[in-house]
């Protein structure tokens, strides 16, 4: 027999397979492509700021699907079923975040070293960027879920989520980019990033489920 959490996870993954999962990676590629047009084709400069470009691109790309994360469930009524399901809403939201990250975040992590080659950041830094994104993008997904839950049912929710979430994402960006710098000494920034991710993994589902419960009409 399937558990409610497994059902939420497999349903969201099946829906993500239906289409739109590659769109985030394409957007990421477009950000990486546009930056040299703005800065100039100087490879030495691009290599120096490469990790920052990759992080900004991934940060912006991870915002893309957030407006549909809970809004679609609100529209077709499955959010009401989740309220009634025999499992805590927090864990169901966590399952949704996990499915969202697997569908949109993980492709960004896998694509980052590839795009790193285009910016000439070198193999070691590329691996570090991918590692930092692997740790950091779940934190961004958890923060994003809070924004998505707060804007459920709003007509202008799509633009509002980034405005609410991006100031809160500053610590993830700071430590994410710092973790990519090999010269900066060891794994300390990556550890802090992992700590942030664990903290947001608690805060995100709890706050999002709380908002969903309070705003249920």
């Amino acid at each position: 027999m399937r558990t409610p959490l497994g059902a939420v996870l497999s349903r969201d993954l099946a829906l993500a397979r239906g289409g739109g999962a590659g769109l985030g990676v394409m957007f990421f590629l477009l950000v990486v492509t546009l930056t040299p047009f703005a800065i100039g084709p100087d490879l030495a400069l691009l290599a120096r700021i490469g990790p920052a470009i990759l992080w900004l691109g991934a940060l912006l790309a991870s915002l893309l699907g957030l407006d549909r994360l809970l809004q679609a469930d609100h529209e077709d009524g499955s959010l009401d079923l989740m309220h009634l399901a025999p499992a805590p809403l927090e864990l169901q939201v966590a399952a949704k975040i996990l499915a969202h990250w697997l569908a949109t975040g993980l492709p960004l992590v896998l694509a980052a070293p590839l795009f790193g080659v285009m910016l000439d950041v070198g193999p070691e830094v590329s691996v570090r960027v991918a590692l930092a994104l692997l740790v950091g993008t779940p934190a961004l997904a958890c923060l994003g879920a809070v924004g998505a839950a707060l804007t459920v049912g709003l007509r202008r929710g799509g633009l509002l989520v980034p405005v609410l979430i991006l100031p809160l994402a500053v610590p993830v960006l700071i430590f994410g980019v710092a973790a990519c710098d090999a010269a900066r000494g060891g794994w300390a920034p990556l550890s802090v990033l992992a700590g942030l991710a664990l903290g947001y993994a608690v805060l995100g589902p709890v706050a999002a489920a709380g908002a969903l419960r309070l705003l249920r009409d």
């Binding site: 804007t151 509002l160 609410l164 991006l166 100031p167 500053v170 710092a178 805060l203 309070l214």
Partner: protein, 254 residues
């Protein structure tokens, strides 16, 4: 005990409105007097700094504004607890009224800071840790106000803003810490910072007077904004009742 019961009595919106109406003229007069005294002490009496010259007087506006910018968010966080835990009728009114005030004082702190930065640092803006944290605080105020204006129904807006305020208040120490860390990494002591010298009494007293005056100003504006918000909500209820009774006149009320 009598004091406590007289404070809890103000939880009633109508009683609070009456109280605010009675108190506001006195508080406004006190604010005007205190502001005049503070500005006189700061702009005329206090000596110019031997190093910074007359520009040090910007501090008398800058520091109180920064304090109140942070106090505004603290008030909102406490009020949000009141919204979510006690469902207090006035808590959301207080939170809503504090947001634009806090944003305004944060902006004032940023603006006076950058005007002060031009003669001191040679540029209007440096990515100093304090400036950057304040900029993020300002952006969070704007986000809260945007969320509030996007939700039409006041009770839903109250809950959503309360959740966001609390998530933000959990994040503020993390943001502050990471921005400090980021700044020390990128900017090794190039900015001449006003360390913490023992402040001379000739500067300290005008600063405290101004801090008191600005806090009074905040309280007056907050009380007035809360009273206005209560009237606005009452007006909204009256309009809805009037529209409902006009549209469904033959039907009995629910």
């Amino acid at each position: 005990m009598a004091l406590l019961s007289s404070i809890t009595a103000l939880a009633n919106p109508a009683r609070f409105s009456a109280f605010a109406t009675r108190v506001l003229p006195w508080l406004a007069a006190a604010t005007a007097a205190m502001l005049a005294l503070g500005l006189y002490l700061g702009l005329v009496v206090a000596p110019a700094d031997y190093q910074q010259g007359e520009t040090v007087r910007i501090m008398f506006l800058h520091v109180p504004s920064a304090w109140l910018g942070m106090m505004g968010y603290t008030i909102m966080a406490v009020a949000s607890l009141g919204v979510l835990i006690w469902r207090h009728p006035l808590a959301d009114v207080a939170a809503k009224a504090a947001a634009p005030l806090g944003a305004a004082f944060t902006f004032l702190a940023l603006a006076t800071g950058s005007l002060w930065g031009k003669p001191m640092w040679g540029t209007y803006w440096v990515w100093d840790a304090r400036l950057t944290s304040f900029l993020i605080l300002f952006l969070m105020y704007l986000g809260l106000m945007a969320l509030r204006s996007a939700i039409e129904e006041p009770s839903r807006a109250a809950k959503a803003c309360a959740v966001l305020t609390l998530v933000g208040s959990v994040n503020i120490p993390i943001i502050k810490f990471s921005v400090d860390w980021w700044n020390t990494l990128h900017q090794p002591a190039s900015v001449t910072r006003m360390g913490k010298p023992a402040m001379d009494p000739t500067i300290l007293w005008p600063l405290l007077a101004n801090a008191l005056a600005f806090t009074l100003l905040f309280v007056v504006l907050h009380l007035a904004a809360m009273r206005t918000e209560l009237i606005r909500r009452r007006l909204r209820t009256l309009r809805i009742t009037a529209a409902a009774s006009a549209a469904f006149a033959p039907e009995p009320a629910e």
